[in-house]
Symmetry: C2
Subunit: 244 residues, 2 copies
């Protein structure tokens, strides 16, 4: 049978989702836990990679097992006993054989969490990124209009992604501020390597008045990133949900 | 001059605020940082103890220094350079010589953070406590009425506090739920050893229908705690602010 898992993790200690030799990854610890549960090595396929240090509230993965003693909807309990405290399975359910966590995904939502403060706050630092100054929220919301839609996002992609095409569709970008906390939520059909972190960084540059909406538009057209736009820290990034 | 500090910390790795021999405490690391800044050992007096594992968004402390080269309002920067990432000073200011972080405190607010889930969530576990089931919020809000006010809180105090009197005044208790997250905010003139954690535990027992509001009232009158009421985990507790 094929089983779908919804997984949440604190990515601080992990070299991302995807298995890599000699590195501790989330996929590896889930596969190790599954091996302890079913007694054989099985491949766990995620909806996509998350980078080193990135968190997840709702990563989705699937695996196939000939082992039908445990009902699919109880797998999460057995896995959680074997998993470390920073990785937990929220739910498990049986899915059709043609379901693929990766290929069947229709959209993904990532949130990027920041806070505006002159001092780093120990109660926030693990899951968000400090901004020294308040950016202009309205300017950023205005710049969102030129990013949403289907574009070649080559200018918002780090090298080494190996993607066949750099065209992606961003469905929506929401920016919400509550007190000193600012959350950027980006939903799209799929994302390039580091794309969300560069996208949010681009919006912040607009919010600080260092670049204009028109420059963002030109950047997308030309495929050349403005060199001052850096890739934000992974710790503020969280894969919120994957829709099918 | 006398300097007032507002301090925030992730208490996970600390044996509480107060200096203890052979243990790592927040007061100790603040005093160590201060020694590096001013070049001499100075005593830092907190508004009160927080227990091992308890966090703070706004602990207040003061110290006296003959060293006036650094303006009081810049002390926080110099201290933060010396402090570890899990303890930071939010602000520093010069105060009158008769100010005492402990004796001048008029009220303190603690919040206790919980979440209702069948699975432990790695992104919440550090700063909140999992509840297996949803408690009845209205029942708890009703029971608040018998706790707010001046009472002998002997029944909500762990042994070993050494307090002269167990009479305290609780000014307000607010209970807010947002999705699966529940926050209890308790403001009072002062609190006994473990009092907030036992108080919230008592409310949860009411919320689960295991004890009644009348039993809480009797408990306060008799001074005898119902034995099933346990002390909740410190990780959900945070000292939010101290008012003067």
């Amino acid at each position: 049978m094929k089983v779908k898992l919804v997984i949440t993790y604190d990515g601080t200690q992990y070299c991302g989702w995807q298995v890599q030799p000699d590195k501790i990854t989330v996929q590896q610890v889930v596969e190790d836990a599954l091996e302890k549960v079913v007694g054989q090595k099985l491949k766990v396929i995620g909806s996509g990679r998350t980078d080193a240090g990135v968190h997840a509230q709702g990563q989705v993965a699937h695996f196939e097992t000939p082992f039908e003693n445990i009902p699919a909807e109880n797998f999460y309990k057995a896995l959680n006993i074997q998993l470390p405290p920073d990785v937990k399975v929220l739910s498990s359910e049986r899915v059709d054989d043609d379901f693929s966590a990766r290929r069947s995904a229709k959209s993904k939502t990532y949130s990027y969490f920041c806070y505006v403060s002159r001092v780093e706050k120990p109660l926030k630092e693990r899951f968000s990124t400090k901004l020294d100054f308040q950016p202009d929220i309205e300017k950023m919301k205005d710049a969102v209009k030129v990013i949403v839609g289907e574009h070649d996002f080559k200018c918002m992609c780090s090298s080494g992604s190996g993607a066949k095409t750099t065209v992606r569709e961003v469905y929506s970008i929401e920016i919400e501020q509550k007190g000193e906390d600012i959350c950027f939520s980006v939903t799209g059909g799929g994302f390039l390597y580091n794309m969300v972190r560069i996208l949010v960084s681009t919006l912040l540059e607009v919010g600080y008045g260092r670049i204009t909406k028109e420059q963002v538009e030109n950047m997308l057209k030309s495929g050349k990133r403005i060199p001052t736009i850096r890739t934000l820290s992974p710790k503020g990034l969280c894969l919120m949900k994957v829709e099918y």
